[in-house]
Symmetry: C2
Subunit: 265 residues, 2 copies
């Protein structure tokens, strides 16, 4: 996609570490153009020890109207929102910040909604699934939250930081009493859906996020990692002829909602 | 001009207040593309009370390699360069900052060189001119410096802040003993060149920068203001059939030098 930039162009930035792999700049720059906006989304590589001073400086730039937040900052970004949307408030993480008309900043998390929307587009049913979820960070929390809201039967949350998995399980269990949510050390035997929301898969030589084994027919696979080539988990799904939702699908799935949030449309 | 943006795009930003009028984003984004660089220049509107915290935050962004500085920050930006080029060091103002390969930042001022180059492109001779220069700020200092280096006979520097004009006159007089440099309250009678480097002309309803009167044939007119339509001073030059160098000409005149500075080519 191509676009023009001039002095009156409004800015949006995606912040992460690393950054070169992100797809949002081309996706949203194209969507802004389609919507008739003179706006671009640029990538910004911000290191962890500079994040807390960079975000307020960017929020003070007069023609910068919104930020997309990616790994590893989705939880840390919460402190820079004066107001949080429902999902961001529930899980304590966000992936979008926008300037309101009164000059304050609001945040919301669209990763989970994007995942659910992408699964629906693939014709997958989520209701009553038994899910193993790798990763209890920002993306994992968001996906877990929206899967529970979409009616999955159970969620087993696997994270090397077991306390983090336990906290997320408690939060989601309280918010969605119809869903059985527990921390787990590995993939339970009876699951029919496996989602990776850990960072495993971001490097080309990464393997599977855990011990998964062969996949029964009908298992639904999801991977939040945005990558040029299919991750090991997505390749595993392909080999077993399973329906899958890849990171790019999740990105497309949340595009409409994120665009209307950012542009205050 | 159009360009593609993706996660690996390198960033350059132009900082000013106001910002919507600047032409550098389209100019340099086009030049980056012509040079085969995956890079864009974006406008950033930074307010005076946030400038000192914004610049270091931008310098810490891993994929942001350079900054162009415009009104009113050309002098204030000097403190953010560990090393200054010759002109920037002489006049204490800069319009470009770049990250060196060792991670430090250097600055240089190209406004004056751009003005001289643009005058040459118009076929104008600068040597032995008697010049009235409005504005002793960053742009005025840079243009005065390069005009003296190009061999003008005299410079009368007019600025409402008379002390600022006096300081610049002293600095340039010492650096270029062959040139007679003085602060002045108005345009001397015998000048054959008038340059506006004040901010008068940035607003559409601005008039001339001072009492100029009719222009003898052969008077060379310059205006550093970058504007969509010709400024009152440029229209005055047109009416008197005088050669002129407009802000856009100055911008084009410095493009090659600024591009090779920013891209460390």
């Amino acid at each position: 996609m191509t676009t023009a930039i001039n002095g009156a162009t409004r800015l949006y930035a995606i912040i992460g570490d690393p950054i070169a792999q992100v797809r949002s700049p081309q996706l949203y720059t194209e969507l802004f153009a389609s919507a008739g906006m003179n706006a671009v989304m640029v990538p910004m590589h911000v290191l962890p020890d500079r994040f807390d001073e960079t975000v307020p400086a960017l929020q003070a730039i007069g023609n910068l109207d919104g930020l997309v937040i990616t790994v590893p900052y989705k939880a840390r970004a919460v402190r820079f929102a004066a107001k949080l949307g429902k999902t961001a408030a529930r899980i304590g993480a966000l992936n979008a910040l926008r300037r309101e008309s009164d000059g304050t900043w609001s945040g919301e998390m669209f990763d989970g909604a994007g995942f659910v929307r992408a699964a629906e587009r693939k014709g997958a049913t989520l209701r009553d699934r038994s899910v193993a979820l790798f990763g209890a960070g920002g993306a994992g929390s968001a996906i877990g939250c929206e899967l529970a809201a979409a009616g999955v039967r159970s969620l087993a949350i696997i994270d090397p930081q077991r306390e983090r998995a336990a906290v997320l399980a408690r939060v989601l269990g309280e918010a969605f009493p119809a869903c059985t949510v527990k921390p787990a050390d590995g993939v339970p035997n009876d699951v029919d859906m496996i989602v990776n929301a850990s960072t495993v898969g971001m490097r080309d030589d990464d393997g599977l996020p855990g011990d998964i084994g062969s996949l029964p027919r009908g298992t639904l696979i999801g991977d939040a990692v945005i990558s040029e080539r299919p991750t090991a988990l997505i390749r595993h799904a392909m080999r077993h002829d399973c329906t899958f939702v890849a990171g790019r699908d999740m990105l497309s799935g949340q595009a409409d909602a994120l665009l209307s949030f950012l542009s205050r449309a």
